[in-house]
């Protein structure tokens, strides 16, 4: 029972990481239907930014995180402006390939500039492990879990309650019609990228701190997993991304707990396929039926 409780904590803490990343995926996809392959790499850049400002400029944790959020938001807007905006009216598969190109560029550019070596992230917050009836949970795990939930609520609020959020929803349903009612398409999409990338930046610093290990390819695997999480949850849906993230986290933990660690990813993909077959648009996705 105690082991089960501990595994639940492990799963939730892993899931909160996927959820953090999946939120950014889901937002960008929701609005321009682009699988932003470079999202995982923006997360990597956030981690590296944190690494440098803490080591070189001696920022504290809060400032490092805030500055990483701003840095990644700007980066997201720049990438959107140069790489995706020219392709807005092109086939979606073209934009996908461009996103893959951006991802390659960020990974290899960072490898070129900073070498491929793994670096240890400066431990600006000392890890404290709390013992709760035989269960262990660290302050950083709680921090990540808290941040993931907080950001999810914040996003939900922005999307549901603000003017920009309304514009985002409008664009995601019908960009042309949104323009007709006076919504600035470019601003809205830039804002979405800024928001999504900011979340990746926050995730980068948090996860860098948690695992204490960063490298230029760190965004690849979590990026794909987070995308799977977003799809399971119903891509485009904020609560869906979180649920998907936690689901994958718990699933991976469960599979490893019963000793099938070699098949952990296979099980995740299998569950993904099964969920899509039952719910073709994910758990929270809206089913769209073509009108005849």
């Amino acid at each position: 029972m105690q082991t089960f409780g501990q595994q639940l904590i492990n799963g939730l803490s892993l899931g909160s990481i996927y959820a953090l990343l999946a939120l950014g995926y889901t937002m960008v996809y929701g609005i321009i239907k682009l699988i932003n392959f470079a999202h995982g790499d923006i997360y990597m850049l956030g981690a590296f930014w944190g690494y440098y400002v803490i080591n070189q400029l001696h920022f504290n944790f809060i400032w490092a995180m805030l500055s990483a959020i701003v840095f990644c938001a700007i980066l997201g807007v720049i990438i959107e402006y140069f790489a995706y905006r020219p392709l807005r009216h092109s086939p979606r598969i073209t934009a996908l390939i461009t996103a893959i190109g951006v991802s390659f560029l960020l990974e290899n550019g960072m490898t070129y500039l900073f070498t491929a070596n793994t670096r240890s992230f400066p431990q600006v917050i000392k890890t404290v492990t709390y013992h709760l009836g035989g269960l262990r949970i660290s302050n950083i795990q709680l921090l990540i879990l808290g941040t993931a939930c907080l950001l999810m609520l914040l996003l939900e609020l922005i999307i549901k309650r603000t003017k920009m959020g309304r514009a985002m929803r409008a664009v995601s349903v019908d960009p042309e019609a949104a323009q007709l009612v006076g919504i600035n398409l470019n601003h809205t999409i830039s804002f979405t990228f800024a928001l999504g990338s900011a979340m990746a930046g926050a995730a980068g610093v948090l996860i860098g701190l948690y695992y204490n290990s960063i490298d230029p390819l760190m965004g690849m695997t979590p990026g794909i997993k987070a995308f799977v999480a977003a799809v399971i949850g119903g891509i485009g849906s904020v609560p869906g991304a979180s649920v998907g993230g936690f689901l994958i986290g718990l699933l991976e933990t469960g599979v490893q707990a019963i000793g099938l660690s070699a098949y952990k990813d296979a099980v995740v993909y299998f569950v993904l396929i099964v969920i899509l077959l039952v719910l073709p648009a994910g758990i929270f996705g809206k089913k769209t039926k073509e009108k005849v």
Binding site: A83, I100, G109, T111, V228, A262, P280
Partner: protein
């Protein structure tokens, strides 16, 4: 009929001239092992990308799992030629690979092909990863260490001939009743169904066909490189094939040829740039996509028929 035959002879001549040219260059030493390596890689990529283009470009189904089927072909060859190290053994293993890949494609395709767009992409990606993880954990495949010392049963000539054959078969498939049915499903599934075309069946046909060609590519890869490992067939490998298809132009087999050659040559030239190679490659990718959003050739197709339109009229008169 006579006119059709003329075009076929024309294409055959092109293929033979290509073969003779490569052979002559090889003989004269213009093509050394390095260039040959590049040409073979390009040839294998053409086989892989043509099959994927059939799935993506012609049947309109976004598959991201091509490397999984390639892995099946590669491992069939890797395992079987350990015991039957003859050219016959290679062809036998290739056939076995094709059959297993097609069966796997059926198992994957029947449930997933009802998904649409990106959901299908992610499901096929998952399926390919499951195949790779199984290979990574099986004894017969030698797990993560992969297989090496695979007998060298393939020369550039084998790759060339098989490249021509798969292309002919694929193009013939597309330019037939089958191909038109597949394209109608891409254009409008509901209308196609109202015309008596079973969309699931035709999507599946394209998917299974593509998987078969992927297995051929895998077999050739295994026998030429003589080393295979599960890591060769990961998501990035599927994406590499997808890049060729999109860069050449979705729905253009000619484009697939051009893109495979351009990317193959680019990759080889970039080998001289050391660590900068992947940076230049990714920049090139982004720039080509921005300036040529529908691919290098769009959906343009090289056709001798179109080059001689007057002959077409002649043909219809004969009929």
């Amino acid at each position: 009929m006579k006119a059709n035959f003329k075009y076929n002879i024309f294409w055959l001549a092109v293929m033979i001239i290509g073969f003779v040219a490569i052979d002559a260059c090889e003989f004269l030493g213009i093509i050394n092992a390095f260039i040959e390596n590049m040409l073979v890689t390009i040839g294998i990529n053409i086989i892989l990308a043509t099959g994927l283009n059939l799935i993506i470009g012609f049947s309109g189904q976004f598959s991201l799992g091509h490397a999984g089927f390639m892995a099946i072909g590669a491992y069939a060859t890797g395992i079987m030629t350990q015991t039957i190290a003859t050219p016959l053994g290679f062809y036998l293993s290739m056939v076995v690979g094709i059959v297993i890949a097609m069966i796997a494609a059926l198992i994957v395709g029947i449930p997933t092909l009802r998904l649409r767009g990106d959901y299908l992409a992610i499901a096929t990606m998952g399926a390919a990863e499951i195949i790779r993880i199984l290979i990574n954990n099986l004894k017969i495949t030698n797990g993560a260490a992969g297989l090496f010392n695979i007998p060298p049963l393939v020369t550039w000539a084998t790759v060339y001939v098989l490249m021509c054959l798969t292309t002919i078969v694929t193009v013939n498939f597309i330019h037939s009743r089958n191909g038109r049915a597949i394209m109608s499903v891409r254009e409008d599934e509901i209308a196609a169904e109202a015309m008596g075309i079973n969309p699931t069946r035709w999507k599946l046909a394209a998917f299974v066909f593509g998987a078969g060609t992927a297995a051929i590519g895998g077999s050739l890869h295994a026998a030429y490189i003589q080393t295979i490992a599960p890591g060769d067939f990961n998501i990035m490998a599927s994406i590499a094939i997808l890049i060729i298809v999109v860069l050449g132009g979705v729905g253009s087999i000619t484009g697939t040829f051009v893109a495979a050659i351009v990317l193959g040559a680019l990759d080889t030239i970039l080998q001289n740039f050391g660590t900068l190679r992947m940076i230049i490659y990714s920049l090139a990718l982004i720039l080509i996509m921005i300036f040529k959003p529908s691919g290098l050739l769009g959906n343009w197709e090289l056709s001798f028929k179109r080059l001689g339109t007057h002959q077409r009229k002649e043909q219809s008169i004969h009929e």
